[in-house]
């Protein structure tokens, strides 16, 4: 028993330093590994990996993304959503994820601890960033595709997480907040909150050049009934739950986000209506109701779970 406590102490020190100095410290990682080994588990410092695609293509900046859908010459072209039928150029793809839970084979719910790391993770919120400011991408050169957390190498029945920033953090002052809650591209100064999801791309199609798709998810209908206390009519936080039949092992598998599936229902070809945008602003944003269900969200209420989300899935690493 005493041995376990010593190990726990060593382990927690390792994590402590990892949190405070950032995970890049190799000493901290080694200490963490040693701690894990001493504990006798097979866990290692790792995390929940994410991967972004557009159909069959990688969602990357700096190049034309094509070959991910039906040919442009198809007679049914306008019946299809835009990301599937035309070459696109990514402009932005970033989103906050939080409130991670794993469900093991015995239906135990494991709430994942997401340590602060000074850059991508703060207070349980992680920014995933798939753009690097090259080509048509705006944003910053840095990218992040992992939620760093200690994990066991085992199969889980289910993984759940929230696409968004919890309400308790959604209205903090972003100009003085720790990273990643201090990024102007993710802040929504107008509502004193954050954009939970930012997905934007241009059409590179010769018949509809420059047309764009802009999707920003964030809580809306926000007021401040008493000073410092905010209330948002529509939370617009998608609760994502993935339970693949074969289970989910975070060491060998990752979560895939498909931009093509996120934009199902929008056609930004010139004949399909041209540029479209959704800024989560209620009835004034008529385009939103088409794409919200792709995230499992009901646009009129902002509630999650009314439809099955289709944008996230589990794939092998």
């Amino acid at each position: 028993m005493k041995y376990i406590y010593i190990c726990a102490l060593v382990f927690s020190f390792a994590l402590f330093f990892q949190n405070c100095e950032g995970s890049s410290s190799s000493n901290a990682s080694l200490a963490l590994l040693a701690g894990s080994k001493a504990l006798g588990s097979s866990s290692k410092p790792t995390g929940i990996s994410f991967h972004a695609v557009v159909g069959d293509s990688e969602a990357v900046c700096g190049q034309e993304i094509s070959g991910h859908g039906e040919s442009h010459s198809s007679s049914t072209v306008h019946a299809l959503h835009v990301a599937g039928v035309m070459p696109i150029g990514l402009k932005d793809l970033r989103f906050y994820v939080s409130e991670f839970e794993l469900v093991d084979e015995n239906d135990n719910i494991i709430v994942l601890n997401i340590p602060d790391n000074g850059t991508w993770q703060y207070s349980g919120v992680t920014l995933l960033d798939f753009e690097n400011a090259t080509g048509s991408c705006t944003g910053t050169s840095d990218m992040n595709k992992i939620v760093q957390t200690a994990l066991e190498n085992k199969q889980y029945k289910t993984i759940r997480f929230t696409l968004g920033v919890p309400e308790s953090l959604n209205h903090i002052d972003y100009s003085t907040s720790p990273s990643p809650l201090n990024i102007s591209g993710m802040a929504w100064g107008w509502t004193m909150g954050y954009r939970f999801f930012v997905g934007e791309f241009y059409s590179n199609d010769s018949l509809s050049p420059g047309n764009s798709a802009v999707l920003h998810l964030g809580s809306s209908g926000c007021t401040e009934p008493s000073p410092g206390t905010y209330s948002c009519a529509n939370s617009n936080r998608a609760r994502i739950e993935l339970s693949p039949i074969e289970g989910f092992n975070p060491i060998t598998q990752e979560i895939q986000f498909d931009l093509k599936k996120a934009f199902v229902g929008w056609d930004i070809s010139t004949s399909g209506g041209g540029s479209k945008s959704c800024h989560s602003m209620g009835a004034m944003d008529s385009n939103c109701s088409v794409v919200y269900p792709n995230f499992g969200l009901d646009y009129s209420s902002g509630n999650s779970g009314s439809t099955a989300q289709s944008v996230f899935s589990i794939v092998s690493k």
């Binding site: 405070c20 703060y122 002052d173 100009s175 009835a283």
Partner: protein, 382 residues
Amino acid sequence: MKEILLITILLFSVIGCGSIGIGKEQGKDLQAGLLLLGQESSEGTPYIWDLPNGFPRPKIPENNPMTLEKVNLGRHLFYETELSENKSQACASCHQQDKAFTDGLAVSSGSTGQSHPRNAQHLSNAVYNLRLTWANPLLKNLEDQARVPMFGDNPIELGMKDKEDLLLSRLENDPIYPSLFHAAFPKDPNPFSILNITKALASFQRSLISGNSAYDRFQSGDISALSASAIRGKNLFFGERGECFHCHGGFNFTDTILHTGTVFEEVTFHNNGLDSSNFTSPNGGLYEFTFSEADRGKFRAPSLRNVELTAPYMHDGSLPDLLSVINHYANGGSGDGTLNPNKDPFVRSFSLSESEKLDLVEFLKSLTDENFVTNPAFASPF
């Protein structure tokens, strides 16, 4: 059991880090917090208000006391085109002094040419505004508001979203700014920050006091300051026929005021009877925040200080001149706005002769403050 232990340990390690405050970002934050707590007059030269008669003392956020140095830095930044990504616009592009800090356009145009849905606000006595924009109940101080034009992308105004580093490096490398920033934030080892930019901009805007119009001189006892026509207009404005003062009352000619004597903050937005076509996306007004149909088309009653210089009028710039505004209210609204269920009860038709309308216009013109629009302290330093 192992899981519980693991979670406990993880929690312990995070709490340990946070409570000591040596996390990478937390450390910085703690430092900033201490600096804020430590702010006092030694932060710079205290700004001395020279308030017109009848003006209450402005309420200034405790974490951003007014200093001459901050006002001076803010004035430079306000006129600085480096604040826009393509260097084409400054705050002053849409807020021009000779127009009481509006731009003379129906709706403003951002640095990339994108139209704003709203008419630019004038900045006369902005320090007294309880809320700042046309309809946003959440923007309460100028520091927060400054981030919207800088970083907003719907619409794009200055276009600096994700360009914080670019903005800061531009200013750091400009020969004039290091000394201005260090003077404005002497306790900050590295004063170049977005927060300090917004603090300086807010300080300059708070200094924009307008209270030397003909009307003010009249109120101070110079009865020759107003023409007979303007005095007739004044009586209509404050009388029960016009009832303009309900929404445009007090020393600042608006109904939402903040100063050191403010105990109860009354925040009001009104539907002033414009045609419903003026409330279509993205001009829903307060509705954009409450999602309540009853709030559709409700906007803040702006101060009428310098109103002669701030045409065209209304949130969308749809009324070209003061006579059109008076006709709008005398008619009890415009188009289907006269029957709008959200319409403020004080917007109801009343009869005015044509000469009375001109009297009212004369009175409104008496709110023009020539000193305000020519004061070199508010002008571009460049």
